[in-house]
Symmetry: C2
Subunit: 708 residues, 2 copies
């Protein structure tokens, strides 16, 4: 996408109207009132209309004498294709289609959307929308939307898939004096999506934080995918996304709303983590983070000082810091000595610093001056409660001055309502961040302290680990899959388990139990010896599913003698209990004491591809749910984070005096599963449970795959 | 406490001052300006002062001719004792001591507080404070505080341990038009605490919800305890408490602030659950819940309908409902048919009901009229985003009317900022609840839907199960404890494990492994047979701690022959490896396959008494942390909730095709541990891990107690 596409020098408003009640009137008015300096061409099919809102109007873009960079569509859906074709002829580069009546209404609308996409592709036009609010570029004072008013300019970019959320965001910003760089309403995302806008905004000089509301996130469909695009963007700028439709019911509400498929919450969560996107869990979060990233400087460390005029709020703030990656700063002795000199005896000179109830602005100033120079402090939360002698406005003014001059991150938190708002207004009017509640300020501070693109974050992309797997091995896997598939009726999922599943894992060198097939008693004895006692015997027959039920399993075979007896025993059991079963022989497995049972799973998400899970295994895996997920292909960094998220990470590193487990073995197995899932899209699900983990070895004991 | 104590007919302000800058001026002014109709007596030691703020003043309460019900103290701490003594003589019933300089400053202040308490007790005076903001009773228009203004009257009672939080709450209420019934600043809680105020407010007619900010919660100190008081109160009215100081650091901040000990978060959490208290996790929560309980009617069920003018916010609200105890209502066919008739074709007639972006007030009205009569709907969330054609004020007015008339709970959520606020103002000015974010509205709705004192809640107190334990058994336990205690130096904790711990559990009939002590080989064989093979032998010696290390343990003894061999083997091992150890004999234990390993623990909290825990056991109990807690004495109801909170509850009820486990055995064991902890305060900690749980049996396998 060309970088100047949203900075047109001339625009046509197709459907511009002289009637105040029409959307075409409002959109043209917005363009004019916003202060746009480029050429404006109202287009109205009625040739009797000559001027609309003092601008000369035309019956078609083709009638416009000059060049047109962009067209806004506010005409009924059915007229869009023809008008778009004319835009093609006119070499217009961008069509902002506000008109509704496309995919979102189903039926004919779907066809109509396909039709306009085809036209656009052929003519080299990019489409924003349809069914959108339009877009705003404050840099060139262009309000090409039907939003009720032009927002002030600032450094926040907004990309929203819901027009209503756009209006709510604009309304919030107008109250809180937040300014925007660019504002995009995505509508049906027929052409331009977040995949285009993230790179565009990453290099947009006016933008320093990208915020977004999405109902579905563009998947991995051939070309650039979200992960690739977003991880590059988040290296440059923070990206905050509110993804709606996390619940099944929520997802249903989306389908009936925009007709698009919502990705599973787990996949989205992995996707965001892997691409460095900051997830907002509510609109309130989105607003808080937008404000913080827009207005606050990123701290250079995680040590927080709290200044307060009351103990209670200090305690509440300390509570809020607990459980985050932030830390309560330990003030230097020097700081404490200095504080002692300027504060009354009842004050607390340790962090949280309590200036006591009668603190005026001067006392805040003295404390701030001292704390600001403490080398152990990275950011300062300034709490104020509206007590009788509190100088709310004066304190706000002085904190504001400090914020502007200080090299540290200073966040005011003014608690209360009516009186506190007098202070809050001062910050807001001066475009300075301010909070009403400590919990929210702390949450926002944590985000700006640990964001990937900010000072303290991780500034590197860790490439996924792609293994070189021999073609013959891949073919072998595919052959097994095709074979298994053939045995099952069309459209039914195929389960692959037992030795067949092991055979697939073996091609990727995922360690499985040593095993061997024996057809005769003497062979069984010989092979058991080779594997090493104790061993387990299992009947191998495509016709026997529940092997134990027919006496087809004997465990704990300790020596050659027992092996011989066991072979005969199983064979006679089968002869009696399943006389007509086809018998391949007896599978001999090494018998391992189970070590610690972990679990590796994979499930192919329809939108985002294979989701790989790792966690505590065994029979209760679904109950304990100590499992973490990432999308394949996995990087070593991903796996490190996956393991770190688990409660059972402590077991791996050695808990309760026990030795540490084979972490390298776990990592290898995960990389191999990741590659297996990437290379063989027929595999829909995979289950290694348990993955027995020992101090120096891992073994995939019980393995199943589902093929679609 | 007498019910009229906070409705005095006459009050003295001790320290009333004619100087505007003095607190004694402000407090008197507040009393007068508030509109108090009773008699007001300013007291100032300076006899030259005759009148203060037009009220005749006196140099001592003893000089006042009439009766005085209450005195407010605004004099320096050191003068308080004498003035209080005079109050005693004057038969004043309540002293509101605003003055600071007591326990909170340490040293002499602590002594001073003890002194005034002694005086008060002797004279029958109750004390609110010291070091508090005072109190407000809007019913009699009494503002006996130095809060900057008199709040409007309403049904919310506030009890706050922080004066600053008081001012923040008043300021919030003033902005949001929330009215109060009573307002208490507790200060140092020297005499009157939440234990007095909860019962008082429970029967206060003006109060319908009790909100509180506490830094420490009154413990179980002999008389009435918090649990007993609160569970009675919550049956009548919702009680919402914000407890600060949940983190260790937070707790430290409190100690340095009020010198009081913060209870552990786990104990507080159990205490609140067991007494039906609703816990607010932030001031924002407290405000939201206060507003909801104050202004909304409690719904009669948990089925929620959503009406919205945009899909996005509908999805967000559905997301917010997921994971709560609320449910998205399924509209009747009739409702859907009716909706179809009045809504445009693009609208969604399923829940969430999307009126689409151009919805005006009439469309909201039509939808509300229909949804209101749907028998499948208990409460209605009305969402509005400020879109171009949205009639914000008109919609607010009509929703307001509906709220007043409807039998259902209707909650408006107006999202945005500047324009949305025009609607929000209409609700607030009319004392009607309104929210800005769906997540917060849903959270508040859940609270009012499931509160103990509201329609859908549980309206019963479940008494703790107290077992009748024979005195001889209790004595036996005490004797064992004393004996064990004797063996360890003073001031050091005593560990009781092995057969001694088993002996204690046995007195309470907690099922332990069958065991027997044998001193001779033949005895060992005989007793093994009696217990039933297989058995385990363990050397029993007070001098041998690590029994395995000296060859003192043999497991899996299968028959009489093996028993004989094992006895000799252990004895010879000990002779060789620990020749000087005193040997009691060999303990024989039944050998159980471990079933599923659970865990019962107990720890005595210094403030709230024994906290009993239950959860998944085994070696990884601390890692998986699938444990729930309640304070002893436990009721059957408590245990039911404890088990219900666990992920592993599913294992007990039969997971993955396995049979259910012996839940009754678990419940019995928990009741017995609860009684053991209550009856023997010397026991500081107890650990049963594992508690082996089978389908029809539980066994406390490995047991330890710590005695202090």
């Amino acid at each position: 996408m060309k970088s100047n596409i949203f900075s047109p020098k001339s625009i046509a408003i197709i459907g511009a109207s002289p009637h105040k009640k029409k959307l075409g009137f409002q959109v043209l008015k917005n363009v004019i009132d916003g202060g746009y300096k480029g050429k404006i061409y109202p287009i109205n099919i009625d040739p009797s209309i000559r001027h609309i809102q003092s601008h000369k109007s035309y019956s078609s873009v083709l009638k416009v004498p000059g060049k047109i960079d962009m067209a806004v569509f506010v005409i009924p859906a059915k007229f869009v294709p023809q008008a778009l074709q004319e835009c093609g002829k006119k070499k217009i580069k961008l069509a902002v289609i506000i008109s509704a009546g496309f995919k979102e209404v189903g039926g004919e609308g779907v066809e109509l959307e396909k039709q306009i996409l085809k036209i656009a592709k052929k003519s080299g036009i990019r489409i924003l929308g349809p069914n959108c609010l339009g877009f705003i570029n404050t840099k060139i004072k262009l309000n090409a939307s039907f939003a009720p008013s032009m927002p002030s300019d600032g450094n926040v970019a907004v990309v929203s898939q819901s027009g209503a959320i756009c209006t709510a965001i604009l309304d919030w910003a107008s109250k809180n004096h937040i300014g925007f760089s660019k504002f995009f309403s995505l509508g049906n995302k027929s052409d331009i999506t977040e995949l285009d806008l993230l790179p565009y905004l990453a290099s947009d000089k006016q933008t320093s934080v990208i915020t977004s509301y999405l109902e579905n996130v563009a998947g991995n469909n051939g070309g650039d995918d979200f992960r690739g695009v977003a991880e590059k963007t988040t290296l440059k700028k923070p990206v905050v996304i509110l993804k709606a439709g996390i619940s099944e019911k929520g997802a249903a509400a989306i389908s009936s709303h925009t007709g698009s498929l919502a990705g599973s919450n787990q996949a989205i969560s992995s996707l965001f983590k892997q691409s460095g996107v900051i997830r907002a869990n509510s609109l309130e979060d989105l607003f808080d983070y937008a404000e913080a990233f827009s207005l606050l400087k990123a701290p250079t460390g995680n040590r927080v000082a709290i200044i307060t005029n009351a103990g209670g709020p200090g305690v509440m703030t300390t509570d809020a810091i607990e459980g985050t990656k932030l830390e309560l700063a330990t003030l230097t002795n020097e700081t404490q000595e200095k504080l002692k000199k300027v504060l009354p005896p009842a004050a607390n000179i340790h962090n949280p610093i309590d200036l006591v109830g009668d603190a005026d602005d001067l006392r805040y100033k003295n404390a701030l001056n001292i704390i600001e120079t403490d080398k152990n402090v990275d950011s300062i939360l300034v709490l104020l409660t509206p007590q009788t002698s509190t100088k709310i406005e004066a304190t706000a003014e002085l904190v504001l001055k400090k914020i502007k001059k200080s090299s540290k991150t200073i966040i005011p938190i003014f608690m209360g309502g009516k009186r506190a708002n007098h202070g809050i207004d001062i910050f807001e009017k001066n475009h300075s961040a301010v909070f009403e509640y400590p919990e929210r300020a702390v949450k926002a501070l944590e985000k700006i302290s640990f964001c990937q693109s900010c000072e303290m974050g991780i500034r590197k992309i860790y490439p996924p680990k792609i293994l070189k797997i021999k073609k013959s091995r891949k073919n072998k896997v595919n052959k097994i899959i095709v074979g298994a598939r053939r045995a099952v009726p069309e459209n039914q999922p195929t389960l692959i388990a037992g030795s067949t599943a092991d055979e697939i894992l073996k091609q990727y060198d995922i360690p499985i139990l040593k095993s061997s097939l024996a057809k005769a008693r003497s062979e069984a004895i010989k092979k058991s010896k080779k594997i090493g006692f104790p061993v387990v015997f299992k009947i191998d027959s495509p016709d026997i599913i529940h092997k134990s039920d027919v006496g087809g399993v004997i465990v704990g075979i300790k020596n050659e003698k027992e092996a011989g007896v066991a072979f005969s025993k199983i064979m006679s059991n089968i002869k009696r209990n399943a006389p007509r079963a086809k018998i391949n022989g007896i599978m001999i497995y090494e018998m391992v004491s189970l070590g610690i049972e972990f679990f590796i799973g994979a499930k192919r998400d329809p939108t985002y591809g294979p989701l790989v899970g790792f966690g505590l295994g065994g029979v209760f895996v679904e109950i304990l749910k100590d499992v973490s997920f990432r999308l394949a292909p996995l990087s070593y960094f991903d796996i490190d984070k996956m393991i770190g998220e688990l409660k059972s990470a402590k077991i791996i590193s050695g808990a309760r005096g026990k030795g540490s487990l084979d972490k390298k073995g776990i990592v290898d197995a995960l990389i191999k599963v990741s590659n297996l899932m990437i290379n063989h899209p027929q595999i829909s699900e995979l289950d290694i449970n348990p993955l027995a983990v020992f101090e120096n070895r891992v073994v995939a004991v019980d393995n199943r795959l589902i093929i679609l």
